[in-house]
Structures are given as structure tokens and as C-alpha cells.
Symmetry: C2
């Protein structure tokens, strides 16, 4: 039996405002870039995550709590419960999307094991609060208890929105009630070192119509930034955003995933409570952080030390952290801001991040993942042995699993619900935000608008949209990406150029009518702001939404990536899946043998260097042909 999700079954459903997303089965992808990623996720990644967590005993941790057998050593970090919850969330979206029996059965089996570990009062955590363990909430800075609970609530939200209330939702409700009692106005006045409970509570509150949950989410948002958290090791309180109240901060700082989950939760609270000041604070932080602390790929996080944002303009390509989870969290924030404001630029950043962070993480088989996503790899990384847990992804190699393994399951839940971010609805107008082949059916004010989209995007910029069904007075808007200067639209009113922003489709939408959007995806040069010291004198190549990169495996023998100098005066040649450009190979500076690499004279001009043709490939595909040195920003001649 094929289950159909309810019409409002979206990952985020604000209680206020005119816009909403579409549900997980309102769009069906048919192949193409995202369709293939989603299929691989469905048929490889979900099982892969399940297998690893069974093998490592992270799921058995729940059984041990249920059996009262918690005295011995416990595998996994304090936050390993959250990985199971993210997998359960992914399974919920997957079942909502496809109705596939395995996803539902697996979810129900896991729910049984999770439920069995829940204490009578609703507390649910396998690392604290039982025999031989530290007491509940004795380590709010590092214990991650509320963080794990937040992910449980998000999983339950996926279930409510695709199936309705079931045992998982009951478990989540009891856990949320426990949190409200424990941390309510009369309870502990603390927050969790890792934000997440905020958006879990806010979304569950929306899904179940429980205003108490939203209120508690708001309490956590407001309590933050008051220095209540004990500093962790050598990091200061900005690490977990406890340095400044959310509504006072100007920019994101500290641990990137924490900062972004907190921002997402703050938007949920702000929207549902009509708190424009709080919403404005997050919008201001987005503006400043995107302008000064964001990589060309959309990646966020400049430092390995604290997995965190750096200062303004501190964007080193080689030590870029750009954690996959931070990319996902950035999408979560931008999506909420798009729904809250209707502004197109939030969807622009989502596209950049989808193609150049999120799509870069999984390997072709869906069983290995990037954790960090640097823009420059100096030396080719060694392969990870199959079955080996990578202690920490330093970048350069996709690994099957990590000691801290937040990214694979985060990716799984995101890919399983990707289509829900591809369009939004406002009254009788559908806005197409992301382009992918498939069918869209969206309930508008006047009835259901059904479209069939066919495109080779992002490799081909032509997007063909056929109207299958349309209610009277329905409208259609298409996002023209910010880079797509020279785009053209063909609709019932003829052909015309359209500017970046929104392109409104003119003429009545009728079954059979065809709209074509043509986006220019030829290779283009992109220059960094001069204040980004780390890439001064360099340029990047982009193509449509794709950031390109040079990989050492594509270089002629004897040529090093460090010697490449891009000749920006020459036109690049486009290939079907990448761009070929002329580069000049300038011999690197002579250096000083046995001495310091600093010279008393400027580098000599020297004779005209040899010229080579070097192929630049989409960044998201890098290191798929074995370990490789790589760079996105190339020095100019």
C-alpha cells in the first residue's frame, strides 16, 4: 500500500505568515542530479547508517537502558543517541516520500527500542541518569542531553507530518513534556551546550498544536547568551553562543552547527510568536555572516579548532572546515527565512549550499562521506580502508563513518526530504525555487497546480515546465539565480529576458501549456572581495550553481597544482560536465634552498611560461577518483 502524506506535510510549517513549503510527496523527482542523490540515499545511505550504528553498539545502548544494564562501558560519544534519531527522521521522510515498506518497518522497530529506554517520567537518554552513569543534566555544557532530545522531536515531527501520531510521536511528546517540566519557569534555568532542542520543540509544538512547546523553545532561546554554561576546555563561551543573547548578536560566531541550529530555532519562535525583533536579529546575523564569513561554496566554518566561524574575512581555503552539517544547518536557517520573508536571496544561498556542500559530501555509492569540505587540499589524502572508522575527517577523503558521526545521518534526513525545499506556496502562487526533473503537485488557494519539470540542470540551463493541471487564477513564479544574468523566459506571452530574482510567468496557466526558462550556465570567473586575505590574487571558476575546482589527477605529469596560474584573458571552453580553461604554468618562486621562503626582491617576471590546458571539474565531484590535491581559487597570471 502506498501511503500518501498529508497536504501540509513539510519539514517546516510556520504557524504565521502567508508562505509555506510543499509536502514530501508533493514533488516527485525523476532522475537528474537530485533524483539520483535521493535514490542513492534511499537504497544505500539509510541502510549504511543503520548497519554502522548496530555494529558500533550505538543502538544497543537503548537496549541496555531498557534492560537496566548500564553499568559497563558505553560505546559512542555522549551524543550518539542523536544519530539514531536523525536516521529515524530520515526513514520517516523516506516513507512519506515513497511509502516503501522497509523504511516504515525499520522505523517502527527502532521506535520500539527507543521507547523501551524511556524513563517513566519521559526522560530519554542512554548516557546519563541510569545505574553507573552521571546524573541527569549534570553536564549541560558537554552532555548533549537536550540536543539529543531535540533530534528525537524532529524525528517525531517528520512522523506527524507524513503518517500522523504513532508510538514515536508519543515518545517524543512525553520527552517534550519532561523537558518543559524540568526546564520550565520554575525548573532548571539552564540551556544545552549544543542548541537543537529549540527547533525540535518549536516544530513539535507546531505539529501537535502544543503552544507550551513553542513557549519552552522561546525560553531556551532567551536564556542563551547569559554565560550560564561552564566553558569547555580551552574554548570561550562564544563556542556555544553563550556570550551574547540571540537578539543582541550581530553575526554568527563559535561552533557553526550550534550557531545555525540556534538561529533556526530562533526563527521558528520569532515567526510563531510574531516577534519581529527576534526575526530581525537573525536576519541581520545572516546578512553579516553571509557577507563576511561564508565561503564561495556556501560553506560555513573557517576553523578546525572549534569547528567554528572565524572573524570577518577570515576565510582560508585550505583550513576551511565547512562541515557538512553546517551546510545542512545553513539551509535550515535560510529556508525558514525564505518562508518568513519571501525573499529570493535565501533560496539563492540554499542552492549554492545544496550543490557545493551537501552534494559534495556523499560518495557515488552513498556509503562514504565528507565531513569537512575545504576549498583547497594541499596534498592528496590517503584512502580510508573500508570498514574503518575515521577519527575525524580532516577533508580530502570520504570516509564510511566517523568517531563523531553527525554528518552521514544529517545528510540522510536532508536528502530524503530535499524536494520539500524546492518550492514554496503563497496564496494562489507557486514559487519554484530549485530546478529538478519531476512532477510537482501543490495545493493552492484555488485548487491543485500540477507541473511536469524536465531539465538537465545544473549541467544544462534549460528548464522545461509543462502545466499538467491548474486551478483558475493560479500563478507561477520562477527563481532566477543571482548569477544568471542573461536568462530568458518563454511563456504564453512570448520570449523575454528576465533578471535575477523572481520571474513571473505571464498568461493563463492551462493544462498543456509549456514554459521554458533558460539559465546561462557557461563557465564564468568569480573574484573574491579584496578583504579576504587568504585568496588575494586568485580567481574561481563557476558554472551555473556549481563551483569548479582543479584537481591534481587532471594535471599533466610534472605539473603541480601550486604552479597553476589561470589566464583570465582567455575564454574557457565548456564541456558537457565541466569546463576546460587555459592556464599558464608559471614555475613557482625559486625559493632559497636551506633558507627561509622570504626574499629580498619581488618574484622575477621571467620568460613566458609554458601553457597547458587544464580541466576544471565541479567541486562536488572532487576526490571521487582517489585522493587528489585540489583547489577552487587559482592564482591569476
Amino acid at each position: 500500500m502506498h501511503h500518501h502524506a498529508s497536504p501540509s506535510a513539510a519539514p517546516v510549517v510556520p504557524l504565521r505568515g502567508p508562505r509555506r513549503g510543499i509536502g514530501p510527496d508533493d514533488m516527485r523527482l525523476s532522475g537528474g542530479f537530485w533524483g539520483r542523490l535521493q535514490e542513492t540515499n534511499a537504497h544505500a545511505t539509510l541502510r549504511h547508517c543503520l548497519e554502522w550504528m548496530e555494529r558500533l553498539g550505538w543502538i544497543a545502548n537503548f537496549d541496555r537502558v531498557a534492560d537496566g544494564d548500564t553499568g559497563g562501558p558505553r560505546p559512542g560519544w555522549q551524543f550518539s543517541d542523536s544519530e539514531l534519531y536523525k536516521l529515524v527522521e530520515a526513514l520517516a521522510w523516506e516513507y512519506g516520500r515513497t511509502g516503501e515498506a522497509w523504511a516504515n518497518e525499520t522505523l517502527e522497530a527502532l521506535t520500539g527500542r527507543i521507547a523501551a529506554a524511556q524513563d517513566d517520567d519521559g526522560y530519554l537518554n542512554t548516557c546519563f541518569g541510569h545505574g553507573g552513569q552521571a546524573g541527569r543534566y549534570t553536564d549541560l555544557s558537554s552532555g548533549h542531553e537536550l540536543y539529543c532530545t531535540g533530534h528525537l522531536l524532529q524525528a517525531a515531527v517528520a512522523r506527524v507530518r507524513t503518517v500522523g501520531e504513532d508510538k514515536l510521536v508519543d515518545v517524543a511528546r512525553r520527552a517534550a513534556d519532561h523537558v518543559c517540566r524540568e526546564f520550565g519557569p520554575e525548573g532548571r534555568q539552564g540551556v544545552c551546550g549544543h542548541p537543537e532542542i529549540e527547533l525540535g520543540l518549536a516544530e513539535l509544538g507546531r505539529a501537535l498544536g502544543e503552544a507550551r512547546y513553542t513557549e519552552q523553545a522561546g525560553r531556551f532561546v532567551e536564556r542563551r547568551g547569559r554565560g550560564t554554561l561552564e566553558p569547555v576546555a580551552l574554548l570561550d563561551s562564544s563556542y556555544f553562543q553563550d556570550d551574547l543573547p540571540v537578539r543582541e548578536a550581530e553575526v554568527w560566531r563559535g561552533h557553526a552547527v550550534r550557531a545555525l541550529y540556534l538561529a533556526a530555532g530562533a526563527v521558528d519562535v520569532a515567526v510563531d510568536t510574531g516577534d519581529d525583533e527576534l526575526l530581525g536579529a537573525v536576519r541581520r546575523q545572516w546578512d553579516r555572516s553571509v557577507e563576511r564569513r561564508t565561503y564561495l561554496t556556501g560553506g560555513m566554518g573557517s576553523r578546525h579548532q572549534d569547528e567554528g566561524f572565524g572573524e570577518d574575512w577570515e576565510l582560508p581555503p585550505d583550513r576551511a572546515y565547512c562541515e557538512t552539517c553546517a551546510g545542512i544547518a545553513s539551509v535550515m536557517v535560510s529556508w525558514r527565512l525564505h518562508l518568513a520573508t519571501g525573499e529570493v536571496r535565501y533560496a539563492d544561498l540554499m542552492e549554492r549550499t545544496f550543490y557545493n556542500v551537501i552534494a559534495a559530501s556523499p560518495g557515488e555509492d552513498g556509503r562514504a562521506f565528507f565531513y569537512a569540505n575545504p576549498l583547497h587540499q594541499r596534498t592528496a589524502a590517503a584512502d580510508v580502508r573500508p570498514g574503518e572508522v575515521n577519527p575525524r575527517a580532516e577533508g580530502g577523503v570520504r570516509a564510511p563513518w566517523f568517531d563523531v558521526s553527525c554528518c552521514p545521518t544529517n545528510l540522510a534526513r536532508t536528502l530524503a526530504s530535499w524536494q520539500a525545499y524546492a518550492a514554496s506556496v503563497e496564496g494562489d502562487t507557486l514559487s519554484l525555487l530549485q530546478y529538478a526533473s519531476g512532477e510537482v503537485r501543490a495545493a493552492l488557494a484555488g485548487g491543485e497546480l500540477a507541473l511536469r519539470v524536465a531539465t538537465g540542470y545544473p549541467y544544462d540551463g534549460a528548464v522545461r515546465i509543462e502545466v499538467v493541471d491548474a486551478p483558475p487564477r493560479s500563478g507561477l513564479r520562477l527563481r532566477v539565480p543571482h548569477w544568471a544574468h542573461g536568462a530568458t523566459l518563454s511563456d504564453g506571452s512570448g520570449d523575454r529576458g528576465v533578471e535575477p530574482g523572481w520571474a513571473e510567468v505571464r498568461g493563463p496557466l492551462e493544462p498543456g501549456s509549456v514554459i521554458t526558462l533558460d539559465l546561462p550556465v557557461h563557465p564564468r570567473l568569480t573574484w573574491p572581495d579584496e578583504r579576504i586575505d587568504a585568496v588575494r590574487g586568485c580567481v574561481a571558476v563557476e558554472r551555473g550553481p556549481l563551483v569548479l575546482c582543479a584537481e591534481s589527477v587532471d594535471l599533466p605529469p610534472g605539473l603541480s597544482l601550486d604552479e597553476l596560474r589561470l589566464d583570465t584573458a582567455r575564454a574557457p571552453r565548456a564541456e558537457a560536465d565541466g569546463a576546460a580553461v587555459w592556464v599558464s604554468s608559471a614555475p613557482a618562486g625559486p625559493g632559497a634552498p636551506g633558507g627561509l621562503p622570504y626574499r629580498p626582491a619581488a618574484p622575477p617576471g621571467g620568460p613566458a611560461p609554458a601553457r597547458h590546458e587544464v580541466r576544471l571539474v565541479p567541486y562536488h565531484r572532487w576526490a571521487r577518483r582517489g585522493g587528489s590535491a585540489m583547489r577552487v581559487f587559482l592564482p591569476t597570471v
Copy 2:
């Protein structure tokens, strides 16, 4: 009574080879750059370190072991014992240098408390092995027991070489014997996560004529790099150089202080055992690491994450770690290599590191210190409150003490013995390596050579050397720094130009004869190798051995450090203690409000920017006028 150290009382005394250093009272500084630093160290820093360690209970940890009272919480990290030993070493050198009673009395009082904590079998550590503590050597990766012992042995070496055998030396001998038994051929086949025991044992073996200690040092050197250490948290085994045997490694990697202490110990072992292969390995590592992994300041360590070296050419100025202790350790390695080979370039790097890392650390009052020494500070750091322990020095502000407080005591022992690195002796020739006002008396093959040096170096390049006393057939060599093109020497044979390297003084050395070396210290531009991505398009300004920098406190109102563009076509003007250069203020790129800092077009040339005169100051003095943004490398126009 003024005690005089023995003639061979140097910090490092190789058993083989023709060269040796001079003893701590063979040179007496009289004011000047290093004389003043040494006086501040003697009268402020030594007491400051003592006061802080008493206040924090790090010294009382020894009393608690002596009293059998180790059940309660113990202040300080596992390695806090080593800070006391480094202070004791500093006191030993200070007493050897000056004979000041306070230094000796304090040393003896501390020795009594240390000795009382030693177990009957020689084991000595306040963190392990007693009631309520973890067992001895149960955590070789992180426990730092042998590291602490190594510093105890170095302190004892300072005592042997300045006073002779005393209670401290007896304690050290018993500790060393314990280590030889415990980790000998039949004992534990482990190494310490933090190298240091190697050079402690080797130097104590030299000082006491105990070949067993040198053999044990060699055993530790050879055991390393075989993967016996349990990885720490998320770092791999290169963090503590356990990835490759010392004699196989091509370059320094991992934690910089660890890598350099290990290298220093390996040189000691190689020299004393005539192991040219091992010596060659460290020389090779020096070559490669100096060429590709060293900052303009001489600083080493490109990453905060592991306080470690980065990859080749990974030398970000903003996130440079350049720990003060790594600068000290680099000097220790280069000094040993100079003694082993006689090559001048090792002394060149020492000078660079002395002036731009070591001299940068202490504040003017000798009671606050830099821990990290970045070459670019983006935003002015907030002041540290007096009496406040800094959790970790991120750079930008000197702090009175740190949670991990290795740098202040390391600095104290280095400054107390600085003059011993200023000259070396080979047969009947004295080589002057560092220039400072004062008197030198060195025992040569044929008798004592006595010189009086007068100079305003490094601000003035004239060095006047008067011969006070000289045996027949004595020789004098002067180091001409690698940057000193155009230097001139005036001696008994007249005036002549001398090239970087060694300048041999000609003519007989007789009482009253005067030699003058003139080193050009006008401001000069220095360009980085093109492979250092992080400073592409930038230039630095140096003056003599001093690296200069621009500080925000010197800028005209409204001008940001990020907007400075150095006009390299203009000649700089020299000032008495800094250089004034013309810079053009180019408005920074327009950016894209609300958008990403990446543009589809190269930055416009625009109108001729306003010109400002900006003063560049010696790097070692930065942040002395309050928190300041700072940069060493400046973009060119």
C-alpha cells in the same frame, strides 16, 4: 659572595666535535636590547612565576605528595610540575650568571620541597602514583610524567654547570636512574607523549659523565615513531611524532614544541654517539621545515587545532600559532646544530627567532606574556584583567598567566641564559653570533680572549669591539647576518666590505685594538615565496633582524588596517626605533550588501587612492599600547 661558574658551564655541552658554547658568566651584558630583557627577567619574571605557582597551588602539589595527602583535588594540569622545574632551571642560570643570593636561596628552598616529594625508588611526580591518583605511567600519551622528569633533569644540568652537584642534582640523578630502570631494555617499551626526557637525559649524561643516561635517551629516540602511543582524542599519531621514526622523517610535523624538543634530543644523542645518520636526519628536517613551514618571524606552528606545524606552504598569518615555547625549542635545535656543524645559517635563524618570537612574548614589565604569536591580528584584543588566568592565549594580548602556562617559565630560563647562545668557541677562535653590549671572556686553546662590545643593535647596525685581552694566535669571527648585504668591517687590516656569512677579523688581536662591524639596518622589503598562498600579493618590511608590522593604533582616524596598500615604489624613511613608509589607502572592494563576498568582475582600478604616511613598528613591541589590530604582511598597491 659572587659565585663564578665553571668554564664549560654552558646550557649545551656536546661530548664530541670541536665547538662549544660559552658559559653563563663568560659574557656579561650591559644594558641594550638583551641586557634590559635579561634584567626584567631577573627582577620581575622569576618572582612573577614563583608567585603564580604558589598562588595556584602548583608548588603545594609537591608538599601534598610529601605529606601523603593526595586524595583530594589537585590544582593544575598533569604537567604543572614541569613549570616549577623550568623556574628552578631559570634560577640556576640566574645564580650562575649573577651570583645573586635570592636566586640561590629560592632554588634551594624549592629543591627541598621537590626532594620531599620524591618516592624512595626515584619516581617523582605529583599527579600519578600516589593515593587517590592514577598509577604510574598508565597514560603515556597524555600523562606527561617523563616530560616533567626531563625538565627536572634540565634544571639539574643548569645546577651542575653553574655550581656543581647539590641536592637538586641528587634528586635528578635518582629520577634518571629510575627512568633507566623502568624504561630500559628490559623495562616498559614506551615513550612519553611529549618529548623532553630525551634531551634531559642526554644533557644530564654529559654533565655527570653517565653514558647510561645518553643510552636511555637514544632508546627513547629510537622507540618513537612506531605507533606505540594511544591517539589522543581526535588527533592522529603525528601529533606526538609517533608516526615515523626520527631518522626516517623528512620534515617536522604535529605539535611544534614536541617535534622540536624531540629534534633537540636527537641531535644530542647523535653527536655524543657519533651517529651521523641521525644527525643528518634532523638537519634534513630543519632544511625542509625552515624552507616551507616557518614564518618570517622564525615562528613555527601554523595551526591552533593541535598547536602544530601545517603542511608545506601552509603559513596563514592570522591563524599562525607560533607558540613562544616553539620559538624557544627552535633555538634549542638550531643551537645544537650550529655546535654540531659550525654552520652560520643556524645562528641566523636563532637571531630571527630571538628578536621576533622570544623578545615579543614578555610585556615591558616582565609580568605578562604572549603565548601565540600571530602575524596578523584582525581585531584588537580586549585587555586581560590583572590577576586573571587566561584560558588560552589566542594571540593579541599578553596575559599574566595561562591555564596551560608553559611559556612564562620557558621564557624565564631562556632569558636567564641568553648570553650563552651569543658566541661559540672552536680551538683558538671565538665566533660572535649575536650582537649585544657587554663583555666577553672566552677560554680559547691558548688562553682567555676578552672583548668589550658596544652597540645600539638592532636599532643601530654599528658594532664596536675592543680587545681587552688576547692570547697569542687567537682568532675572532663575526657573523654577518644573511640579510646584511653591504656590511663593512674595519679591523687592523683596514676597511672592507664583507658578505653575509663569517667575517674573519684580520691582523693580530691585541689589547686595545678595535674592530668595527657595520651592518645595514635601513628598512627593506621582503617578499614571500609564491607558494605561500596566504600572503600572496603582499610584502613585509624588515629592518636589520627586526620584522616590522603595522598596528591599528598608528593609523589615522577612519583608516582601517584592511585598507592599507604599501607603495613599494617609494623609499621608506627610517626612524630611530621604527620605519615610516608611504602607503596608499585603497578603499576595500565594494562588497555586495546582503550577499556573498564574491563578484563577477575583477575589482575596479578606480581613482588614485588617498595617500597616508603610516609608521611601522618592530613586531616584538606590538600590542604594548593596548589591544591593537596588527599585520606584518601588507598588500601592495
